[in-house]
Point group: C2
DNA sequence: GCCCGAGGCGTACGCTCGTACATTCTCCTC
DNA sequence: GAGGAGAATGTACGAGCGTACGCCTCGGGC
């Protein structure tokens, strides 16, 4: 029996504030008080809308991973040949490891939680599964799996480097991992 | 002018306790009190031996990354052909992503710090640099860089999966990324 | 035998935190 | 306009925190 007085945007604004705060100070720096201040809501709202810290974080990372994977699917969906898919993958690597610290930080914070806690590992598994399925639009499952791992590693390393590697290196690595296996029983490409 | 009464093992024991505590509760769960209790030293020792929380963490992760990279170098140093090197790399991936949650957790905690703070990024850069140099004992620099990223991605993804991928997939990915480039100007192998 | 200085430690201060809960507010019903 | 139900909030409590700092302890110099 909603009276209509409730503010449906409030939860969303709180989640937004949580993500911003994680970027600025890390999961460790998130507190109900800081989130409330940033979202412009009273402290009491925090316990009213969320059962506790954990629901807050879980919901925030659910939204975040959903956003990232959507970009991934969109870019790969727009490709219509394996070569276009390779280009899209290179774009994604360089987008993820580019200037935007935001996604990098949030990803690592999530992985750190996932390494210890099953509820968050579930989140990363869903994410990985959807990424792979998108890659399988263009490549066979084994290749998709390898390529997914390569994307991960290239993005992380590139973001941590003093002099980020150039696009040519990314492109070459992608070409190698998706190259048809000369001696193997199957080709890597589908399209 | 040391009087000889100082306990040189104390610092080490404290660092050990810090790493154990990070594994159990994460960087966020580390406090002077908990570390002191675990190391069996009085609380006052913490501020006496370390300037603060940050020195504690930085020293702990310095030791950790040194340990990991030493294993890496040892395994790759024992290989004398590119094929043996490939086997060693596969071993390392499956060792890192195997049952031992410890190294996985510590790695992610470090990366999370590195994503936000330059002092820790320096640590990861040194680590990456040494790993690459070890890979360059067997492969050319560009391949070493790509392989290093692949190792990272495979380890992370394998550790997060419900059903970790089998060795064959790892081996295939390594073979692909280190395969001599048929059309390229240079082979990937050195040895 | 006495003292002194460095090594080592216990304690207390000031702060932030999560959360429970009594209270206030707002709008609908009659 | 009175009443009430449910939404929203302010506040206070108990706990844990980092760290500063005064005190103790003890080996060595004389």
């Amino acid at each position: 029996m909603a009276t209509g007085r409730t503010d449906p945007e409030r939860r969303d604004r709180i989640i937004d504030a949580v993500l911003d705060l994680i970027v600025d100070e890390g999961v460790a720096g998130v507190s109900h008080r800081k989130v409330a201040a940033r979202a412009g809501v009273p402290l009491g709202s925090m316990t009213y809308h969320f059962s506790g810290m954990d629901e807050l974080l879980h919901e925030a990372f659910t939204r975040f991973s959903g956003t990232i994977v959507a970009v991934f699917e969109e870019r790969l969906g727009a490709a219509s040949t394996p070569d276009e898919a390779r280009e899209a993958v290179a774009d994604l690597v360089h987008h993820l490891s580019g200037g935007n610290q935001r996604e990098l930080i949030l990803t690592h914070e999530l992985y750190t939680l996932a390494a210890r806690r099953p509820a968050y590992r579930e989140l990363t598994r869903t994410w990985m599964g959807r990424s792979r399925r998108a890659l399988e639009w263009h490549f066979d499952p084994a290749t998709a799996r390898q390529l997914d791992a390569l994307i991960e590693g290239l993005s992380i390393h590139r973001a941590l480097e003093t002099e980020p590697h150039e696009r040519a290196l990314t492109v070459e690595a992608i070409a190698r991992i998706t190259a048809p296996d000369p001696a193997g029983p199957r080709g890597a490409e589908r399209g």
